[in-house]
């Protein structure tokens, strides 16, 4: 019994000594702040200034919660105050541009990304809120309008939103190239991103060349967890999301000839997203998880 204990202790010490000191590289998902602006004058006139403030804050919180249940590669939280710290996703509830004299207006949500870390996405997405013929309908009280906003956002086409707008948010600014097969390891676990395989990523790299490092971007398909059969020099990436380079891309053959450690992954974006299922639960104990937020108070936490 004593001999067995000693052997176990020796083995444990040996394992500890031989284990390389890889740094922990798991990243936090990008935090996207969400804000709803009630821009349509016909709607604004129906509410007092205080009601508008409350409604905007409450709607921002509910939209963030809804987005979180559908999209897992970012953390969505309502904008608190005026200070924008990261990417800001703005939902402007306003009329579609149909000329100033139009009597019946179509009202929709104009969604755009701005703020820090918003990437290069300058596109906007428009989601119909109420068609022209509903312009004569009552707006309702703030609670009714909130419910309607929730309903519209719940039914909306997220594919376009991700491709046109959220694809501007980098989910990582680091990563590791891999050659067999050619692809990249993204420092997030698949479950954390709530991302199903076959989601499409856009990887921006600094690739060495005769003219110095040049930027080259490639499409890659999420293929599963990085679990190579033997030990590797990048064991700290084990278990993270592996994305395989999509074939027939310009410059891909050149990349295959470059040593992976020479390639610097600059940013990883999501072009097409397939959800693993209902996301939204967030990381356990995550204070930003929607279930842990108090939406009753504008911008408030429990």
């Amino acid at each position: 019994m004593k001999g067995l204990g000693l052997r176990l202790l020796v083995l444990a010490l040996a394992a500890a000594l031989t284990m390389p000191a890889w740094p922990a590289i798991a990243l936090e998902r990008p935090v996207v702040e969400v804000k709803l602006l009630l821009q349509e004058l016909a709607y604004r006139r129906e509410f007092s200034d205080q009601e508008i403030l409350n409604l905007e804050a409450e709607a921002s919180a509910r939209i963030a919660k809804l987005l979180q249940t559908r999209i897992g590669f970012a953390k969505f939280q309502p904008l608190r105050g005026e200070a924008v710290t990261g990417p800001l996703l703005t939902f402007k509830l306003g009329a579609r541009d149909q000329g100033p004299s139009t009597l019946l207006k179509e009202v929709g949500l104009h969604i755009e990304l701005s703020g820090h870390g918003g990437g290069g996405s300058s596109k906007r997405v428009y989601w119909l809120f109420r068609p022209q013929e509903r312009y004569r309908d009552a707006v309702g009280n703030p609670a009714a309008l909130l419910r309607e906003i929730e309903l519209r956002i719940g039914d909306a086409d997220y594919t376009t939103l991700i491709r046109e707008v959220l694809s501007g948010i980098p989910i990582a600014r680091t990563g590791q190239m891999w050659t067999q097969p050619l692809g990249w390891i993204v420092p997030h676990r698949q479950a954390d991103l709530c991302m199903e395989v076959n989601s499409v990523l856009w990887i921006e790299n600094a690739v060495p060349s005769g003219a110095g490092p040049i930027i080259r971007s490639f499409r890659a398909r999420a293929a599963g967890s990085f679990q190579p059969p033997g030990p590797t020099s990048i064991e700290n990436y084990r278990g993270f999301l592996f994305s395989e380079a999509s074939p027939q891309q310009e410059g891909l053959n050149d990349l295959a000839g470059v040593r992976p450690e020479m390639v610097e992954v600059r940013a990883v974006y999501v072009l097409e997203y397939i959800s693993l299922g209902p996301c939204g639960t967030g990381v356990s104990g995550d204070p930003l998880a929607p279930d842990n937020q108090d939406f009753r108070r504008p911008g408030g936490r429990p």
Partner: protein, 316 residues
């Protein structure tokens, strides 16, 4: 044989009674047809007199006639006749009437007749055109007295009432029809009414305002004043207006249908040409949604389209 003086006095009395009858006919509306009830007692009296005449002997009959003649002579003395004439003339100088002839197509409406020199003495009644001519007895003066006549649906007028002849007022002639105001609302204002907003029609008096009408029913159009048919030419103008605003055929049809069926609102004060009117739709948050301001002209129907208010404003 009747004394010639007595005969003259009886003639004078008959003339006086005729004058009183004519005055009563004109000012009180007592017409021969209205005196039919007198025929029965008159017939009974005549029958009784004829029967008594047959029962009496000549001396008795002569005695009764003499007594009656003496009594009549005593009663119809010159002084009595003069007093009666003076009394009738004096009353005729002071009491007169306003005869109002309503338009049979009008609904029941309130009418007020007020001495222009004593506006606190307002006399209000309800006028039903089915009743026909209506007379209002008034106190006037020998040289006439001005009265302000306000008939619902007509512009108020101040007219003189003279003794004996009185005043005859025909709706639509002496009294001009008051203008009706057709307020057409844009869709955004209708939506606001559906959401708890309200229409307010205000008469501007300098910097002050008098609320004439309010309504919260979500309608596309309101007709303030008397009911008035919409001229067919309006539909063409509205269509052009909507086309200019970029409405499609469906929107045009919806708007015209809504505007052609206005809700009639009775203003607290009859509309008059020259009045400055402000019409607004205010939201449930009391913010201005649509408005129009206008000075009323002489047209019987004034068609105004409220315009959306684009200015932002804070909560009151």
């Amino acid at each position: 044989m009747m004394n010639p003086h007595l005969f003259a006095r009886v003639v004078a009395l008959i003339l006086l009674l005729t004058g009183i009858f004519l005055w009563a006919n004109h000012h009180l509306g007592i017409a021969p047809g209205n005196l039919g009830w007198l025929s029965v007692p008159t017939a009974i009296l005549a029958g009784v007199a004829a029967w008594v005449d047959k029962l009496l002997e000549d001396p008795e009959r002569q005695s009764i006639l003499r007594t009656a003649r003496d009594k009549l002579r005593a009663a119809l003395s010159m002084q009595v006749l003069v007093v009666l004439f003076l009394l009738a003339f004096g009353l005729g100088l002071v009491y007169s009437s306003v005869m109002v002839i309503p338009d049979s197509n009008d609904p029941s409406a309130s009418i007020s007749i007020t001495p222009a020199d004593r506006l606190d003495r307002k006399h209000i009644e309800t006028l039903d055109p089915k009743e026909g001519v209506r007379r209002f007895r008034v106190v006037t003066s020998p040289f006439g007295r001005p009265f302000r006549i306000e008939l619902e649906g007509y512009a108020p007028e101040t007219l003189d009432v003279y003794p004996f002849v009185g005043l005859k007022v025909r709706a639509g002639k002496e009294l001009r029809r008051s203008p009706s105001l057709l307020l057409r609302l844009p869709p955004v204002a209708v939506a606001s009414l559906k959401n708890g907003g309200k229409l307010v029609v205000i008469r501007r008096i300098g910097n002050d305002g008098e609320t004439l009408a309010t309504d919260t029913e979500p309608r596309s159009a309101f007709l303030v004043g008397r009911a008035h048919s919409i001229p067919p030419s309006s539909y063409g103008i509205w269509r052009m207006e909507l086309q200019a605003a970029g409405s499609d055929e469906r929107g045009i049809a919806q708007s015209i249908m809504g505007w052609s069926r206005p809700k009639v609102l009775r203003p607290l004060t009859t509309l008059e040409p020259g009045m400055m009117i402000l019409a607004e739709v205010r939201s449930r948050a009391n913010k201005r949604v649509a408005s129009a301001e206008m000075s009323l002209g002489n047209d019987s129907l004034i068609d105004i389209g409220l315009e959306e208010v684009f200015e932002t404003e804070g909560s009151p």
